[in-house]
């Protein structure tokens, strides 16, 4: 290309890109979210900082006029010094204190070279630069070889090769810097950047790595496409040829390139997510913990969930820790590479501590996001397990008490015999036996925690019928139920105990006539009022029945339902408010509305 200094352009772009990349890397590394551990950050930071200094220095050297005097020479010396120090830091990062002597030798070599560079500031002939660079190249190639031999192969061999290549790319620096053309070495030179990055990123906990790699991939792709466009542009529409067909072709090509860029970028990110970060298994893990094998016990479920998450991320070990014991677990920080919080309720949290991943993979930002999502799923599942458990317990509490003393078969057969031995003419007595059987059957109901209000009211009526025949004219009963309320699901035995209470503490205590009035109003939710006559000494009392009502309401509606008892002059009232039947309330209770009597 006439009139163009291609190597200079590429060098300018390369160094600018290098400076920007490493600056971003530094910023991410030292941002609050970017780091998950403590080890290794300073070394990586130092390497990145040196890379920034080298790139900026090189840019200055390229931009300054070739005979810039001391300023230019200082820039050259600083740039070269940074470059010479870089392999020592990379070597240190790679070996991580495994071979202190080799690391020390690396630093010594770099220090010597740096001293030589600095000495050259005052000198007129830059020959020492060349010698220092040569020493670095040969020295680090040797050290890398020795270290690779000592360290063994495996995943780190790639790091060794990268380091060696990086060191090898020094060769050309000795020849000349500045604006001289050395096209052939350019590729090797800039290949050093990604390779050095690879070394840098090899072994420490840089959480934003995935974001950074994506950014890098994005930038490289953009650079490649731009280069293609520029080259095509130079060839097609360079003056003096200004052919309109070529211009149009160029414009169309430009559009195609831009579209291609978006498409390629999507594919590239997909590939990075799948192949490089291996996150598909992890997103499955979040779905998997939702459908566990049947594990009744909460602790066992947590253990299983932690195991399956650990398996998905291929962590070498895992552990479930109580939140309170976190401070005590001193080993946690050292052993755990990632911590997944599982919030089960107010002040009740577990932590799933995951060990390092197999195959040297690290936990990246996306991984942590997915792990947090899995933690949420686990917490939700535990919550539903707890709810189910509560409903089951509450529904079975009375049942157990009754069953422990009397087998239901015995009870109902006995009632049947009683019914049969009462003459048909004694209709009232037979009716009472039937009502009694209805009530007992309702109490013994095992399935479901919610029933339609109409079903509960049947039992309330049956109960009041029995009480009425017992108390005779002393008891007046009034029942008023909104039609709209009849099908609303309510917890089993939430009204009958209130009525029982009204009789026991109100009407039955006094010699005179009394009443019980049940009123159910439907307006959004339900408002159920049980009123009864009462004397001065009537107290609602902390009956077991009322406690059970409160507990059932709490399980089904949380704090959404209220039960208020009021004792006034001559009368008492219990007011039960149930929120509008939401699908959520039914879902949380984990029970369907059931009905035990067949309806023709």
């Amino acid at each position: 290309m006439p009139g163009l200094n291609v190597p200079l352009i590429i060098n300018l772009i390369g160094h600018t890109a290098g400076a920007v990349l490493f600056a971003i890397f530094l910023a991410l590394l030292f941002s609050r979210r970017g780091w998950s551990g403590e080890r290794g950050r300073n070394l990586s930071g130092a390497a990145a900082a040196l890379a920034v200094v080298w790139n900026v220095g090189s840019l200055l050297v390229l931009l300054l006029p070739s005979e810039a005097g001391p300023a230019g020479r200082i820039a050259v010396a600083v740039s070269f010094s940074a470059l010479s120090l870089l392999p020592a830091v990379l070597l240190h990062t790679w070996l991580r204190g495994a071979h202190p002597r080799i690391t020390a030798a690396g630093y010594l070599l770099s220090a010597t070279a740096t001293a030589m560079h600095i000495r050259e500031i005052g000198a007129a002939d830059p020959s020492l630069h060349r010698i220092a660079i040569l020493a670095i190249t040969i020295g680090f190639l040797l050290l890398t070889g020795i270290a690779a031999g000592l360290y063994g192969a495996g995943a780190r061999l790639a790091a060794a090769m990268a380091l060696a290549l990086f060191a090898g790319s020094f060769i050309h620096f000795g020849e000349a810097h500045a604006a001289r053309a050395w096209e052939s070495e350019l590729l090797i030179h800039h290949a050093g950047i990604p390779l050095a990055l690879f070394v840098l990123l090899q072994d420490y906990r840089f959480v934003l790595l995935d974001a950074f790699v994506r950014f890098l991939a994005n930038a490289l792709l953009a650079a490649a496409i731009t280069a293609a466009i520029v080259l095509a542009g130079l060839r097609l529409i360079a003056p003096p040829v200004a052919d309109p067909v070529r211009l149009a072709g160029f414009a169309i090509g430009l559009c195609v390139c831009l579209v291609l860029f978006a498409w390629l970028r999507g594919r590239l990110f997909d590939w990075l997510t799948r192949a490089l970060f291996g996150q598909r298994a992890l997103s499955n893990a979040a779905a998997r913990v939702r459908t566990p094998p049947s594990l009744e016990n909460e602790e066992r479920y947590l253990e299983w969930a932690a195991g399956s998450v650990a398996e998905a991320v291929r962590a070498v070990r895992h552990e479930v820790v109580m939140q309170e014991r976190v401070e005590a677990a001193a080993t946690l920080r050292a052993s755990g590479e990632a911590v997944v919080p599982v919030r089960l309720g107010q002040g009740d949290s577990r932590l799933i501590v995951l060990g390092p991943r197999r195959g040297g993979q690290r936990y990246l930002r996306d991984d942590l996001d997915l792990l947090a999502a899995a933690g949420g799923e686990i917490a939700a599942h535990v919550e539903s397990m707890r709810r189910n458990e509560l409903v089951r317990l509450a529904a079975q509490a009375e049942l157990r008490a009754l069953q422990a003393q009397m087998h239901p078969h015995f009870l109902f057969n006995a009632l049947n015999t009683l019914y049969g031995t009462i003459p048909r003419e004694a209709g009232g007595a037979r009716r009472m036996v039937l009502r009694l059987a209805d009530i007992f059957r309702y109490f013994l109901q095992t399935e479901g925690a919610l029933v339609p209000l109409s079903r509960e009211m049947e039992i309330v009526r049956a109960y009041l019928e029995i009480e009425q025949s017992r108390l005779g004219p002393r008891l007046t009963v009034e029942i008023a139920v909104d039609d709209a309320a009849l099908d609303v699901p309510i917890p089993v035995l939430s009204i009958q105990p209130l009525v029982e209470n009204a009789i026991k503490h109100g009407v039955a205590r006094h010699a005179g006539p009394g009443y019980v009035a049940v009123e159910v109003k439907s307006a959004g939710g339900l408002c159920i009022t049980v009123r009864n006559s009462a004397g001065g000494d009537s107290e609602p009392g902390p009956g077991v029945g009322l406690q059970n009502v409160r507990r059932r309401l709490e399980i089904c509606y949380g704090t959404g339902a209220t039960l208020d008892l009021r004792v006034g002059e001559g009368q008492a009232a219990a007011e039960l408010r149930i929120p509008a039947a939401s699908a959520g309330a039914r879902h949380r209770s984990g029970a369907a509305v059931t009905q035990s009597e067949p309806r023709p």
């Binding site: 078969h409 049947n416 019914y419 049969g420 013994l444 009597e597 067949p598």
Partner: protein
């Protein structure tokens, strides 16, 4: 014509209660009583009742066993009577015509009788309900052990192991047994779905075969096979299904 009724219960008072209430109904004739399952079976065979009130818990054979062993050709309406049984509720959901909880009130019994009257002459429905009731064997499990077959106006409960094959012929599905054939009351795909997981295997578009009755499998061409059943009947296996038939037979 009165509803000829049998009462089965091990407790005399329980039988007495039902008898009293039923005799008040007018169109019910009590043809007998039984106090256990064996007695119930012989009474059913002897009286061929229209309606049986059946207690589930009895010494010896229980109520479900009685349904399972109903004598050939008798299809009574069965009403389950029980003191307290989650089984009964399951039976009702599975298709028992009705169930009653003790003590049985007069009004409840009247409703049951209304239902029974509505079913008179609808033998197909009664037979179907018996099949479903029969499938309720143990708590939580339910598998079909019988199937309804029609022969003219007669309905029969056929044991699955005596059925050789189902064959579709246009709209009609034939049930083949060793001696004769019956008309099925359902389409072939419905029968297949109902019998899934059992010994029946589809051999081509229009036939289900009981693999326990296959005696011979002869290759016809490269992929087609001929099945010979225990009564000598022959059926071809379609190419598409040859593999699954051979898997089922472990050929």
């Amino acid at each position: 014509m009165p509803i000829r009724t049998l009462i089965v219960d091990d407790e005399p008072v329980a039988r007495q209660v039902l008898k009293e209430e039923l005799s008040a109904a007018g169109d019910v004739e009590i043809v007998g009583e039984a106090e256990d399952g064996a007695g119930a079976l012989s009474a059913i065979a002897r009286h061929r009742p229209d309606l049986v009130f059946l207690d589930l818990r009895m010494p010896g054979l229980g109520g479900f066993e009685v349904v399972h062993r109903l004598p050939e050709g008798v299809l009574p309406v069965v009403v389950i009577v029980t003191a307290y049984d989650e089984h009964a509720i399951r039976a009702y959901e599975a298709g028992a015509l009705d169930y009653l909880l003790k003590p049985v009130s007069q009004e409840r019994l009247a409703r049951t009788l209304d239902r029974v009257r509505a079913l008179r002459g609808r033998k197909g429905e009664v037979a179907e309900s018996l099949v479903r009731l029969d499938a309720v064997t143990a708590p939580g499990s339910s598998h079909v052990r019988k199937i309804v077959g029609r022969s003219g106006a007669e309905y029969h409960l056929l044991d699955l192991d005596e059925i050789l094959a189902f064959q579709a012929e246009g709209e009609i599905v034939w049930i083949l047994t060793a001696r004769r054939r019956y008309m099925a009351t359902q389409a072939l795909h419905a029968i297949e779905a109902r019998l899934a997981g059992g010994t029946f295997q589809r051999v081509h578009r229009g036939a289900l075969v009981n693999v326990d009755h296959v005696r011979k499998m002869t290759p016809l061409s490269s992929q087609r096979w001929m099945l010979t059943l225990s009564n000598g009947a022959e059926l071809t296996v379609s190419k598409r299904l040859a593999k699954s038939v051979r898997d089922a037979l472990q050929w």
